[in-house]
Symmetry: C2
Subunit: 250 residues, 2 copies
Amino acid sequence: MKLEVYADRMSQPSRAVLILCKASGIDFEEIKVEISKGQQLSPQFEAINPFKKLPAIVDGSFKLFESHAILIYIASAFPGVANHWYPADLTRRSKIHSVLDWHHLNLRQGAAPYVLHTVLAPVLGRPSSQQAAAEAEKILTSSLSKIESIWLKGNGRYLLGSSQPSIADLSMVCEIMQLELLDEKDRDRILSPHKKVQQWIESTRNATKPHFDEVHNVLYKMKLKLSSLRSNQVDGMAGSRIKTPPISKM
Amino acid sequence: MKLEVYADRMSQPSRAVLILCKASGIDFEEIKVEISKGQQLSPQFEAINPFKKLPAIVDGSFKLFESHAILIYIASAFPGVANHWYPADLTRRSKIHSVLDWHHLNLRQGAAPYVLHTVLAPVLGRPSSQQAAAEAEKILTSSLSKIESIWLKGNGRYLLGSSQPSIADLSMVCEIMQLELLDEKDRDRILSPHKKVQQWIESTRNATKPHFDEVHNVLYKMKLKLSSLRSNQVDGMAGSRIKTPPISKM
């Protein structure tokens, strides 16, 4: 029985899990659960993840959710996953745990609410708050600075001075990739001061191609839709809405 | 060279690490870093944790921070740590990772800001917000309900239906223990609907005695001080401040 990955490619942790599976040549089945249609709320999915969030996996009779736990499980259970994704060495592995833990209350706390309160909420018809956006931007830019000065310190291309990516690189880069949805000016303002972060995103993309862009394609398409919507609004057609799936925070 | 644990017992993740070390009979040195005195901001400590947060460990030349990463490292590196704290079996281990990941954006997001904005901020002379307290309480009570209905589902005394505690039990119980600082009425209102949670705290305390109460003693003392301060305020002596160390969020 194949590994089943329940995912919505609009959810950044779903993308991280899918890219690891694809880049490692795992024979798995992607089961699409569309957040925009509320499919994660179905009783069938609740039996897999009672918290009703994506991603989740089923491997035989074993069910698991929370993306970092899934990434570690896949890297440990499938021999096809290269050692650099989750090294067997305890000290290297522990440092990766440290980055993954840090991610939750830093980068994730900035990126997702910033994108929600700037570009997504208005088109979803959900309430947005300038104050929430400003607070999220503070956390986001502080997190990017810390990634650059602490986690990317040294000469390695990847986090922790490594020459090859780990599951922590994948998780954090996928988180940052949601900034693609922003207005070009906002995205530049936030990302352009962080040259090392930009190089690191490119390195991670290159290390996992063609899967990285294939999995992110839904995001690139959404970027075009949002951009076209913004142009229309500038042309006096404000108020229209497009169907945009929300980004999962999990 | 002994394992060094940099900790402030007022910080809940510091307590979890200390209890694991003590309950496992590890020969370690506790190095007190007092947050109330800003000692975590010193260049010496910054060389151990550039994020200037507690806890952190030094094991020979190896440095590590983020409490969950530390708990996993200690359970993996020291043979004296019983298997139940972090089982070797991949599926059991993965479920523990799932709980630990969930903790970050749920229980932790509720408990720490609630205690800060209700009892700690006023005595620390830091700004407190009723709205922030109300939002934190919502996350906290929802998290406690989910711990009870999902993580403590079944007949086991501990999370995931286990008969013995894991590092996830220790981390979450230490987080909840900060509610000791609350006004008795508030604490009862929040905890009393969750009988299973209360039993689980007791089971974890019993499984790690006498270390659990010894490590939490500083919290029990602070509870008395805060309670006496509240009585004084009721008696018209409002405005006085006691020296209370802030609770670390890490």
